[in-house]
Symmetry: C2
Subunit: 420 residues, 2 copies
């Protein structure tokens, strides 16, 4: 039996990969603003005008000159003329002279000559188009000035930002009805193995339903990518080669699972090395599960070989596929939520020095704190453990296990229930 001669740390493997493969960031496309949430912004956004676009009232009341109100109080009301009304949505037709005011809606244009707005409750109409005012105002009071929110020319959103609803709001306030975003990365996915069939196909003893493709397709979708399903290849050089070549032609990146180890049927490395250089760059990582992972490229197009065991494939996807996809997209933030919580281990778990070990845990909220209970699992093929667990704890290469009570970062596999 052949073995991995040398295993490489995950961080070192990615470093080697990025050193040797000049990832070309994928192109952008213009989409309607209302479909842009969770997409990655492809250009810096500079405000094309001031927001608000005019100085406006922040309350319902009377626009006036603050200097006209000096000394006003409930015991010493001052009288102003009311020369008109400014309704929201319309320009202000009048300009104020001394001792004049206009009734103004919240959000309406502040008329020329006015520099403050008195709330209606500090005034009383005394007929004859006159009001008494019961408070002195400082200039600017109850006014939102032009450009107060965003100034024209301000760089308000940066390329690489994963758009959130509030970003969409700011873009619309700046007049954008469409926006330039990074095209969804196309990621082709192939499973290999004589034993594999698809769910829905006729089952015979010895056959196994392929779970990796549905899992990887879902992970790619969740990451904002466009999965391309290359199906299942038998363990035959020509069949695997032609499917990988097709995948490279229609995608930005190819993921292959199964056939990636060093056994007799593990043809994948040979196939990859038969394609455009550089081929396999790193094969065999210091991680558990996920050891048979390989990073490769055909020209500058990334190819990742993932293990056949579904749990190992998921762990490898998180460890090495996501960083490569982010680089392709020209961003360093994930289009989904921060998935880390801090928790205390409920009991000791062992791990082997030199490997980054990913342990499945069940995170619970107890007495105001998160605790992580390691699950007893037998091997990375046990997919049901991935739904019994709701988190993974990574034990670093330089540690032999974790102690009971130790504080750890848990990568959540599933959102925790809302607690409010």
């Amino acid at each position: 039996m052949k073995r991995f001669v040398k295993l490489t740390r995950i961080d070192r493997a990615l470093h080697l990969f990025f050193e040797q493969v000049q990832i070309e960031p994928i192109s952008s496309e213009t989409v309607p603003l209302t479909t842009s949430v969770a997409r990655i912004l492809a250009e810096d956004v500079v405000a094309r005008f001031d927001v608000p676009g005019f100085s406006r009232s922040a309350v319902d009341g009377y626009a006036l000159k603050a200097q006209d109100t000096i000394g006003a109080s409930s015991t010493n009301p001052l009288v102003l003329d009311v020369i008109g009304v400014v309704e929201i949505g319309w320009p202000a037709k009048t300009a104020l002279s001394q001792h004049q005011s206009v009734y103004i809606d919240t959000g309406a244009v502040l008329p020329n000559g006015a520099n403050a707005v008195i709330m209606a409750e500090y005034t009383e109409s005394i007929g004859n188009n006159k009001i008494e005012i019961y408070r002195a105002l400082t200039p600017g009071e109850n006014v939102s000035f032009r450009g107060e929110d965003v100034k024209k020319g301000e760089r308000i959103l940066l390329r690489g930002t994963v758009l959130r609803p509030q970003d969409v709001g700011v873009l619309s306030a700046l007049g954008y009805s469409q926006v330039k975003v990074v095209r969804r990365p196309k990621i082709a996915i192939l499973s290999t193995g004589n034993e594999l069939i698809d769910a829905g196909e006729k089952w015979e003893k010895g056959k196994i339903i392929d779970t990796n493709r549905p899992i990887l397709i879902s992970m790619v979708k969740e990451l904002g990518g466009e999965p391309i399903d290359l199906g299942i290849a038998k363990d035959e050089f020509k069949e695997i080669q032609s499917k990988v070549v097709y995948g490279l032609n229609v995608s930005d990146m190819v993921l292959v699972s199964g056939g990636t180890s060093v056994g007799a049927k593990d043809l994948m490395p040979t196939v990859i090395n038969s394609l455009k250089k550089p081929g396999i760059l790193v094969h065999g990582l210091c991680m558990k599960p996920g050891k048979p992972t390989a990073l490769a490229a055909a020209g500058n197009q990334p190819i990742v070989l993932l293990p056949g065991f579904p749990v190992a494939a998921m762990v490898s996807f998180n460890a090495v596929v996501i960083p490569i996809v982010l680089k392709l997209c020209g961003t360093n933030s994930l289009p989904f939520w921060n998935r880390v919580v801090h928790a205390k281990m409920t009991r000791r778990i062992p791990s082997s020095l030199g490997n980054k070990t990913f342990t499945r845990v069940l995170v619970k909220y107890m007495k105001g704190k998160f605790v992580a209970e390691p699950l007893r699992t037998s091997g990375s093929g046990v997919i049901s453990s991935m739904i019994r667990a709701n988190g993974l704890v990574a034990i670093p290469e330089n540690k032999e296990g974790l102690e009971a009570g130790e504080e750890v970062e848990v990568i959540l596999l599933r959102p925790l229930k809302a607690r409010t």
Copy 2:
């Protein structure tokens, strides 16, 4: 000026609403498994067969009878006959008698008569279809038994689960090529206001670009819903009424923003009360921002009136729209990530007793801990503050502000940068 006579606590308002409105859970639909990630499962899933479907080898090696290996060691090797090979993907053709073994691939069917597998590295071929073995095995060693992962009849996923990639994997392992999920809730969205125009429309002084619709459409999409854009209605009874009626006809729920307060132009409550009973149920919440929010219904169809200020509309969406959408979908988990981190306040912030106050903060990771810095913001209309902030801190109704150093839960507005 009219005022809200009485304000209601958020929790009390939702309680009143659910007491009086019999929400009808929306129907289900069947979708291909590979498109089901992030959808809500509409039925319990019971395993239709055992996984794995047959007992199989967990290693490359020789299947044998454990009792034949008693006493074997490197100094005392035992000899077994090799009577065949079981390749992965094929049934096992042979049955073992005493002192017999077959070569077996990882994942291949364990032949009848075998109960353990010795790894190839603890054996040596000595020719003549014979091997020496250097280790004793216990029954079951290196075997994954039929049903070990999932047992037939086991209730493996529950209705209401938001499907994650690993759930998709389990469903495929159980033979599902399609799955029944909750239909996407259709949520119609209307903005009202004479001052509003859409991004891309010609701007005139006094007009404001509607930001609420793009924000709410994005929030609905993010929640897994299907937004229906009802456009902008002028502040005219008939126009608002006809758009809300249309919205009710084509959706599961209607959201309206603007015109929801108690001023002269705030026609919305009158419109809603002109429709099917019960109309407005709660109007005016103890929250800042978000006070003018109202909960209403036409028959059992929910209508939420959201404030016109975008920040207030977003806060209200989180506080009252999400719980109603979850009820419509028959689930209690959000289709997106846990968005709460614990942080220490960097300085004191005041709030008023009796209101639930949502303060915008900037969360940073400092020396291994999260800290939350309150942002100085002037009013809920300042949308740029929603992109300068990355979190909201809710100050409960019974507290007057938060102290510097106090530990708080922060609702994240944006994923934090990966720290690994």
